[in-house]
């Protein structure tokens, strides 16, 4: 068969990527406390224990608050950046956009440390709020990338047509531009939400005494008997991530279809 070697490589690659994740649900439903084969039997105890755990619920609540807030903040700021980058040309535009996208590739440990130093220096108390700030920073590139696509697929004359038909600049934006980029906005929010929910390093540095899900999981890894519960939690997080990204992609594609543009990539 032609391409047999490449096919085997592709399969190996996918196994390497996803086999560890597939182990999560297997051990989440395994009756034994030790993470090893052979499996001991089926149980849902770990999920029950997880729900009964007050510290975990607190971490979950913190994570949801942080993820929601930073998603909304990053997306709102991203709307301005994406609109500016697609509609106007001005001095320093390339540099400004480059700096917005930079956190995507900057080591998070550096970002976290510098944020920590600055926040402590100006006397801000570490809390959920400081994590929101940090997460907004690292979510911005995702929001801008998704919404730049949404804005750039719009014909500039749509806005002018609305003005020509009697609308002001503001109402033209509200009646024509906003509905057309709405799928992009929703898609960006979901993406940011997912990024923030999974984020560990910034949360670890900036949360003070407040746990988030990733930092809670990390703290529990020291105790072997709580590992099956973490497996159960991980299973749910993986499922939630897949669902959120699926919805995000659905809205992104719908936005592209709506404006009649050609689909050029995306994250999924």
């Amino acid at each position: 068969m032609r391409g047999g070697g490449l096919r085997a490589y592709a399969v190996l690659y996918l196994v390497f990527l996803y086999a560890p994740i597939l182990l999560l649900p297997i051990f989440a439903f395994n009756a034994g406390t030790i993470i090893a084969f052979p499996l001991k039997g089926f149980t849902t105890d770990w999920f029950v224990q997880m729900w009964g755990n007050a510290a975990l619920r607190k971490a979950l609540a913190n994570s949801l608050i942080i993820a929601f807030s930073s998603a909304v903040l990053a997306t709102c700021l991203g709307i301005f950046a994406a609109r500016a980058s697609t509609r106007f040309s001005f001095a320093g535009k390339g540099a400004a956009l480059g700096l917005i996208m930079l956190p995507l590739v900057m080591p998070e440990i550096i970002v976290s440390m510098s944020l920590l130093v600055v926040l402590l220096a100006i006397g801000v108390k570490l809390s959920v709020f400081t994590v929101i700030l940090g997460h907004t920073l690292i979510c911005m590139p995702y929001a801008v990338a998704i919404m730049t696509t949404a804005f750039s697929s719009l014909d500039k004359s749509l806005e002018e047509a609305a003005q020509d038909l009697g609308e002001t600049k503001l109402s033209a934006f509200r009646l024509v531009i906003l509905p057309l980029v709405m799928p992009g906005i929703i898609s960006a929010m979901l993406m940011c939400f997912t990024v923030s929910l999974d984020e560990f390093i910034i949360a670890f540095f900036l949360a003070g005494n407040e746990p988030t899900l990733p930092t809670y999981i990390f703290s529990q890894l020291r105790f072997p008997k709580s590992i099956p519960v973490i497996m159960a939690l991980g299973t749910i997080l993986v499922l939630a991530s897949i669902v959120l990204l699926g919805i995000a992609e659905y809205f992104r594609r719908r936005g592209v279809a709506r404006t009649g543009a050609k689909d050029t990539g995306g994250f999924l």
């Binding site: 749509l158 003005q163 020509d164 038909l165 509905p179 709506r258």
Partner: protein, 382 residues
């Protein structure tokens, strides 16, 4: 304020541009445009890309701020009047149909601030759709329409507001040839029906000639000539205009004398001829010298053995057919006229077109032919 310019048909001016200047940075896009467009007129701005025609249209619409000068619409100064408050509506080159709305919502978009009841507005939308031949399309999704249908929606959406002026920015350039020719006729009919002033921007000289009452030909931010289609075609004001509109043969000429009736020239192939004064253009900047021009269809080829000139004014030269290009309804000939190389030894075949009328033979390459012409079919650029 200046009084309305007198014009022959007594129609009042609808759009007046006075010394309109526009710069994009260092680029001088409009160089002092003076222009009066009359009420109810089908007016075209014609020129190659980058000549400023679209800029001028967008200036009238209110999308471009001008550096200096005045734009009046229906006698009112448009300075500080934004696009949404001007009595103009525009059909965009891309049509700019709102893809998230239905056809009816698109057409009714401009009625949002209209105080009429929803029922009356719906009726107005239906009427507008019927006018452009899209009756019953109201519930369709706008993004599913064909190019021709989008164009009609864009027209209905603009005309439903009963603007004083409808601005059309290359509205037919995205359509295929057949559709374009059909829409040209429909636009003319529509304009007569609604009686609104239409201002069309186009780079297609044929489209401008077919549709317009008057045409302004623009080059490099200036109006090179403003005339009716016939005058523009028959008596172009400069070589450049002549070259842009249709095909014209150019031959170097020597000026021998001038009277009130015309200018006497010696042109290779034609000999000594008096070009009537109305065919003499003095706007010939930067050219090599006096030039005689004529359209390919302004002369006739007849067989050497045939009859003489049909009319008293007709004159006859001789020539040899160099090339024959057959188009079915027409044939184009390249003819080397006798004595055409008399000046400088350079043979300049001229292009002649003839309709392939029933019974008319298409002569072969190399055939000697008679070239029948009259002084009135020549124009002189000096």
């Amino acid at each position: 304020m200046t009084p309305p310019a007198a014009n022959p048909d007594g129609r009042k001016p609808m759009i007046e541009c006075r010394q309109v200047q526009k710069y994009y940075g260092d680029y001088h896009a409009l160089r002092g445009i003076d222009l009066t467009i009359r009420e109810g007129e089908f007016f075209s701005l014609l020129g190659p890309s980058g000549c400023g025609k679209t800029t001028l249209l967008r200036t009238i619409a209110g999308f471009e701020e001008i550096g200096s000068g005045v734009v009046l619409i229906d006698g009112r100064d448009m300075r500080d009047v934004p696009a949404n408050a001007r009595p103009t509506n525009m059909v965009f080159q891309s049509y700019a149909i709102f893809p998230h709305l239905t056809v009816a919502q698109n057409v009714g978009f401009g009625l949002r601030r209209d105080p009429r009841s929803a029922v009356e507005k719906a009726r107005a939308v239906d009427e507008a759709l019927e006018m452009v031949g899209l009756k019953g399309f109201g519930r369709r999704a706008a993004h599913a329409l064909s190019g021709g249908q989008r164009q009609r929606v864009a027209l209905a959406r603009a005309l439903i507001l009963k603007p004083k002026v409808l601005l059309l920015d290359e509205p037919l350039s995205a359509l295929d040839r057949k559709m374009r020719e059909q829409m040209q006729v429909e636009l003319i009919k529509l304009q007569r029906q609604v009686g609104i002033t239409f201002v069309l921007v186009t780079h297609d000289q044929e489209e401008a000639l077919v549709m317009s009452d008057r045409i302004a030909v623009m080059f490099e931010g200036e109006i090179a000539q403003l005339d009716g289609p016939e005058a523009l075609y028959a008596r172009p004001a400069s070589r450049r205009v002549a070259d842009f509109i249709g095909v014209m043969n150019f031959l170097p000429a020597r000026i021998l004398g001038e009277t009130d009736r015309g200018v006497t020239v010696d042109a290779p192939g034609f000999g000594v001829v008096e070009v009537p004064m109305r065919n003499v253009s003095r706007a010939n900047p930067g050219d090599a010298g006096p030039t005689v021009g004529f359209r390919p269809e302004a002369v006739t080829l007849t067989p050497v053995a045939g009859r003489g000139p049909e009319r008293a004014v007709d004159r006859v030269s001789g020539g040899v057919i160099d090339e024959v290009v057959y188009y079915g309804d027409m044939t184009y000939y390249d003819v080397r006229m006798d004595g055409s190389a008399r000046y400088d030894g350079i043979a300049r075949p001229v292009r002649v077109s003839m309709r392939n009328l029933f019974g008319r033979e298409v002569p072969d390459v190399g055939t000697r032919t008679r070239v029948v012409w009259s002084p009135g079919s020549l124009v002189l650029f000096r």
